[in-house]
């Protein structure tokens, strides 16, 4: 099985008796762009954090880049970027300093040039020397994206990245994500914004209550069609029927 960037078998995670994820089987191939939808509490963030090795699984196996992730997963982290609605940026430092720090932590070669190039690419040149504290949310998110990309990851995980962004910032983020995907990076994104999700991604999965309910290509679907599918799945009462996995 070559090219599988993510592979999970029966991946599960419990928090103090509450099972956030049940026996999830998922495979994501290199170069894919996958959107993860689901109501609040469905386990989307948990899944992403498991994939980023920020959480350890309570059950099951996770393989990233075809190696089992065990005991820390430092090797895998080098190739994974993570963007959340929290920016992970130090508010008292400037974007340049923040990016420089992360570049060094990820052992990027020639960090200074890389940081400069990134700042230009995300359009932060004018603000590169002001503390992150002073940036608007949109600018901060751009910087956070730069942070996630500083080490040129092969896999980019995004946890509701459009939250709190205005229209302009959203558009810009979307176009940058498309660019990043076009250059070969695998994307996995959770979002509530269905239109954006369908726009950027070619495949979608739907989680409800910690279970994978739907998994398939969406390139050919219209927004309405997908919305119908989504509502059908998320309205079903608990305990009724089996997991309705629909892989096409």
């Amino acid at each position: 099985m070559s090219g599988a960037v993510i592979e999970t078998r029966a991946l599960g995670r419990r928090f103090a008796g509450v099972t956030a994820l049940h026996a999830l089987d998922l495979t994501v191939w290199a170069g894919e762009a996958v959107a993860v939808f689901g109501p609040n509490g469905a386990g989307k963030s948990t899944l992403l954090r498991l994939l980023a090795t920020l959480l350890r699984p309570s059950a099951g196996v996770l393989r990233l880049f075809e190696h089992a992730v065990n005991d820390g997963g430092a090797a895998a982290r080098r190739r994974v970027g993570f963007l959340s609605h929290q920016s992970f940026l130090y508010p008292d430092l400037t974007p340049t300093e923040n990016l420089d720090f992360y570049a060094r932590m990820f052992r990027v070669s020639k960090p200074v040039e890389r940081v400069r190039a990134l700042i230009e690419r995300v359009g932060l040149t004018g603000w590169a020397h002001r503390p992150v504290r002073t940036l608007s949310r949109g600018l901060e998110q751009r910087c956070a994206l730069a942070r996630a990309l500083v080490h040129e990851p092969d896999l980019l995980l995004l946890d509701e990245p459009f939250t709190g962004l205005d229209v302009d910032a959203s558009t810009m983020l979307a176009s940058m994500l498309r660019e990043t995907h076009a250059s070969g990076t695998t994307l996995l994104m959770t979002t509530h914004d269905m239109a954006r999700g369908l726009d950027i991604c070619r495949r979608a999965i739907i989680l409800t209550r910690g279970r994978l309910m739907w998994d398939g290509p969406i390139a050919a679907m219209s927004l309405d069609e997908f919305e119908r599918e989504y509502h059908a799945l998320t309205q079903s009462p608990p305990g009724l029927g089996t997991t309705d996995r629909c892989s096409r």
């Binding site: 928090f15 103090a16 008796g17 509450v18 099972t19 209550r209 910690g210 608990p238 305990g239």
Partner: protein, 229 residues
């Protein structure tokens, strides 16, 4: 294992405790020097030893929990901490009651008392850490860290306080050794008391552990009923 604990442990503990009480209050002769108050000694010393044994249990269970991750070890650590805290509190109460008539003072700062006091503070920190931690396994893990660090630290604390005290001239009569019990009846009483408190420790540990285990099961069932599990 459960059978053994549920069925045999309580009556045996009860028997031991009853014998201990009898021996302490009726059987053993009154100490010539210290008088009736000395009888507290038979409770105080086993309680003290068990308080430290309890913390040792917490430490071992903590290591096992961090290593293995099963909830059982966490429960044992938690239960041991609660029982240990109880015993430690009793030690710190019975100690001064005994000390006042015998030494003329409520407290000295010798190595043993001070270490016990600090043990009590560590227990308090442990329990408070558990109750104020966020949801999930966090509290268990943090407490385990404290259990381990505390256990490593206690001997060091003891050593340092000992040096602290012995370099200064002794202000008060330093504590006599725990033996010096000439009368064989005193020795046997102490022995029975050790046994009784050891069994009490085990039994309380068991009960509390079962308590928690049942609580966990109820919680799991509840989650299932709500369609989450």
């Amino acid at each position: 294992m459960r059978k053994l604990a549920d069925v045999i442990l309580p009556p045996v503990t009860l028997a031991a405790m009853l014998s201990a009480i009898y021996m302490v209050f009726v059987y053993v002769p009154t100490d010539k020097v210290q008088g009736i108050v000395q009888r507290i000694f038979y409770f105080h010393v086993p309680l003290a030893i068990m308080a430290f044994v309890a913390f040792g249990t917490v430490a071992v269970a903590s290591v096992m929990f961090l290593w293995r991750g099963t909830r059982t070890w966490d429960r044992v650590a938690h239960a041991a901490a609660e029982v240990g805290m109880l015993f430690c509190t009793l030690v710190l109460i019975t100690g001064p009651i005994w000390a006042r008539p015998v030494w003329g003072t409520w407290w000295t700062w010798d190595a043993r008392l001070t270490t016990t006091l600090i043990l009590w503070l560590i227990y308090a920190a442990y329990l408070m850490l558990r109750s104020t931690s966020g949801p999930g396994d966090q509290g268990a893990r943090y407490a385990a860290v404290l259990g381990i660090v505390g256990a490593v630290d206690i001997p060091i604390i003891n050593r340092s306080v000992y040096w602290w005290r012995t370099i200064h001239p002794a202000v008060l009569v330093t504590r006599e050794g725990s033996s010096g019990l000439a009368d064989p009846r005193m020795q046997s009483t102490l022995g029975i008391c050790f046994l009784a408190f050891f069994l009490l420790f085990l039994w309380l540990l068991w009960v509390r552990n079962e308590n928690m285990r049942l609580g966990d099961e109820v919680e799991a069932l509840r989650q299932q009923a709500l369609g989450q599990a």
